[in-house]
Symmetry: C2
Subunit: 468 residues, 2 copies
């Protein structure tokens, strides 16, 4: 028998009158006078369910089919047919319906057809991919991830798996998780007693942490292979319980030799627009689902994003705009302070009403590795701010001049010894190079319009939460 | 000016007589009577260097060009020309050569044109991508990774980023790294004193670890979206200083609802063959480089791999073969023991002389989640063994029957409470499902023939080593 997916049937890859087998789960069941039942089936291949027609001549119609509830798993043999109803183009007339798994006590099944709050769904993160909304999120995330790999590949970038366990604090803020081995390596679930003794030095020979960025390592590869990118998990041990922060999140970090700040600004804009064009094309039904549920303007918002030229302004200009706008900010702003969420939102949502790139921030608020500009006050850095989110990308040209790098290390109380290999990249055939980091989950909340970042990653890790 | 890559020129995308700019690093310089110099340039886009012809009429010929050494970075404007020499089809006649970065003290440059040992290169992991061999490894890894994403996507699998930080020990062997926060969160590099106090419970509210597998989480998504896969880092806190073990490595873990053990055996074979076909096509020059350096039979070995049907035998049959082979093993083998490296190698290298799949291992040596066979003694598991490596893939059909799962949890001293959400997948619309894990770096050593796994990942993490 020809085993196919719901998408295969609904998107027309299967001709009518073909005998097929379909495997999935019941979304809903409607009965008509107990002589015919309409089963909506999903299997994750697309958001639209497939309608199955079950007549009462099926041997298990009364005893089983009339008892099917949302979430039951089934294997159905049937024939693809033109639908008589108006809701769908094709449906499947069942020849047999085999029930694989029932729902234990359907009245207490945590995922029913009714709408649940996103907060409630987080408590059943193992079951929430069965809902329409989280299923759509999963397909959108997959499509964006594929589009990113494809785009980077076509641009000549090589994927580099930079290390997760590291001895370096790239961002220099010390908000890192420590990695250690338990002194008495007991399996968690076997031990009743808590193992509170950790051996931090023994395994790796020095203190080890979870990476906050693959950038420094990616630079080593860019200084040999020209164009590289990372796509992997990164970590922040910050007690931030906001709807924009995760302790564990994924980042894409392109790093390119011979590129200047302006080159990576072009790359960033091109990457974002390109992957959203792919998304609109390949996930149109999933995106349409969000119109009613999340953001009625989602399609025009995303189409607009791909069509407009991003605004690009100097940090100094941004400060001027924020000072003259007569808006009361919680955190006062002046030249030399970092932009906070409220400032970023004003710029992108109220002033420009579009994505905006702010560049050349003061060196005092940026990391040691950013290239010092000729004014000696600012560094060749850039942030991409988008409406509704704020910063989605942060990047810079890297300091390629050894003497300037050494001066910046010193200003940041960092030692040359610790960064010996990073300095080597400047001692031996140094090149101008630049890169940026794109927070994958920030991108997800931007494209979907979903409010809380915990809902765009399968199993979110946040303070006090390492469930599932 | 038209900025292009070495590959653009060598693979013929640029017509002759085109004016181009090329940016890269010097591999070698040869001079002919100080009137003309031949510079071999690399930029990471391919293994073959581009020959640049520099005549002595260039303004900096004597003062700069004649002093160029391996590793110097340059920007060259020139014209693509048919080569007079036999070694290459095209070359570039330089109109200007701008030196971007010199080599500080060339006689001590760690990466010279001469051959270094792989062990030595590990000590300069930040510079080793500049060598031909590690550059080739990077392109091969990228090509395989892209091929895996593309293959899985075409098969209808959705990429799922399963969590890195977890409270679960999927394999049940307790060899996990602990994740904690330092009690006095000091930036590593700023603090002279060691911070030896770790707060293991406070941040996440319970003990947290680095994942050994994304499987349990992937199962939750497969039981909603049918076909999913992970591609991410996994960790083992094992003191294994072998050439096949890393503390941090990448795994691909497909997980598919409605698939049986035999279905994923077909998937595994198809995945491996497909990505190697892509590799042979897209990285042929990199692969050819390995003929002289690593494995003279690499191409026939890989082509053969894609052409033969894998052998598939029962564990029970494997034990019989190992018992009658008259070979002295260090670890004696009998029904009920696990296969060790020497046994796996005998089967794939000596007996079958080809990849071999061993299936249906005794339940006593396998994890709780594998599906119990009708004999009550074995589980529906499979390992793919390849010559030179041993196990490259391990997989199984998962236990989808709640009562059997509960029995297996009990036999393994695991509590139902701890696995409440994993049990839910069986309580609500359970389905047969299967999956496997493919170790990405094991795959890399198989395809390249490189002996030590530390040489196929950019910055290896092993006991006592968290450098770079």
């Amino acid at each position: 028998m020809n085993v196919v997916s719901v998408a295969d049937i609904l998107y027309g890859y299967i001709s009518k009158n073909t005998e097929i087998t379909i495997q999935g789960w019941i979304r809903t069941r409607r009965d008509s006078k107990a002589k015919i039942s309409f089963l909506d089936i999903y299997d994750g291949s697309c958001i639209t369910p497939l309608q199955i027609i079950a007549y009462d001549n099926l041997y298990n119609y009364k005893n089983e089919i009339l008892h099917l509830t949302s979430g039951c798993s089934v294997t159905i043999d049937g024939i693809v047919s033109a639908s008589i109803g108006m809701k769908q183009r094709v449906e499947v007339i069942a020849k047999s319906i085999k029930i694989l798994g029932w729902i234990e006590n359907p009245s207490t099944y945590p995922i029913t057809a009714k709408n649940h709050t996103m907060k409630y769904l987080r408590e059943v993160s193992h079951l929430r991919p069965r809902t329409n909304i989280i299923g759509a999120v999963a397909r959108i995330r997959h499509t964006l991830s594929q589009a990113i790999h494809t785009f980077m590949h076509k641009q000549g970038f090589i994927w580099v798996p930079t290390p997760i366990i590291t001895a370096y604090d790239t961002e220099g803020n010390g908000k890192m998780f420590c990695v250690s081995t338990s002194k008495n390596q007991k399996a968690l679930h076997n031990s009743k007693e808590k193992t509170n003794t950790y051996d931090t030095h023994n395994f790796f020979g020095k203190e080890a942490f979870l990476t906050v960025s693959g950038q420094l390592n990616a630079e080593a590869y860019a200084c040999a292979l020209s164009k590289v990118y990372t796509f992997g998990p990164t970590f922040r041990a910050e007690y931030s319980n906001t709807n924009r922060h995760l302790s564990e999140f994924w980042m894409i970090e392109p790093e390119a030799a011979f590129m200047t700040l302006d080159d990576i600004i072009i790359l960033a804009e091109s990457l974002l627009k390109n992957i959203i064009i792919v998304l609109l094309k390949e996930c149109s039904d999933d995106i349409k689902y969000f119109i009613n549920k999340i953001d009625k303007n989602i399609i025009s918002r995303l189409e607009n994003f791909t069509n407009i030229k991003f605004n690009c302004i100097e940090y100094t200009e941004a400060i001027k705009l924020l000072k003259v706008c007569n808006k009361q900010f919680n955190i006062p702003i002046h030249w030399g302070t970092d932009l906070f969420s409220e400032h970023e939102k004003y710029l992108s949502e109220e002033y420009f009403k579009s994505p905006v790139i702010v560049k050349n921030y003061p060196k005092s608020i940026k990391a040691f590795y950013m290239r010092l500009n000729d004014d000696n006050q600012t560094v060749a850095s850039m942030d991409v701010l988008v409406p509704g989110i704020g910063e989605i990308i942060g990047g810079s040209q890297r300091e390629e001049r050894l003497s300037t790098l050494d001066q910046r290390l010193q200003e940041n109380n960092l030692t040359q010894e610790n960064y010996w290999w990073y300095r080597d990249l400047r001692r031996y055939g140094t090149v101008p190079h630049s890169g940026f980091g794109l927070g994958f989950e920030r991108l997800m909340i931007y494209v979907t319009g979903i409010k809380n970042i915990r809902d765009v990653i399968p199993f979110p890790r946040t303070p006090k939460n390492v469930n599932f």
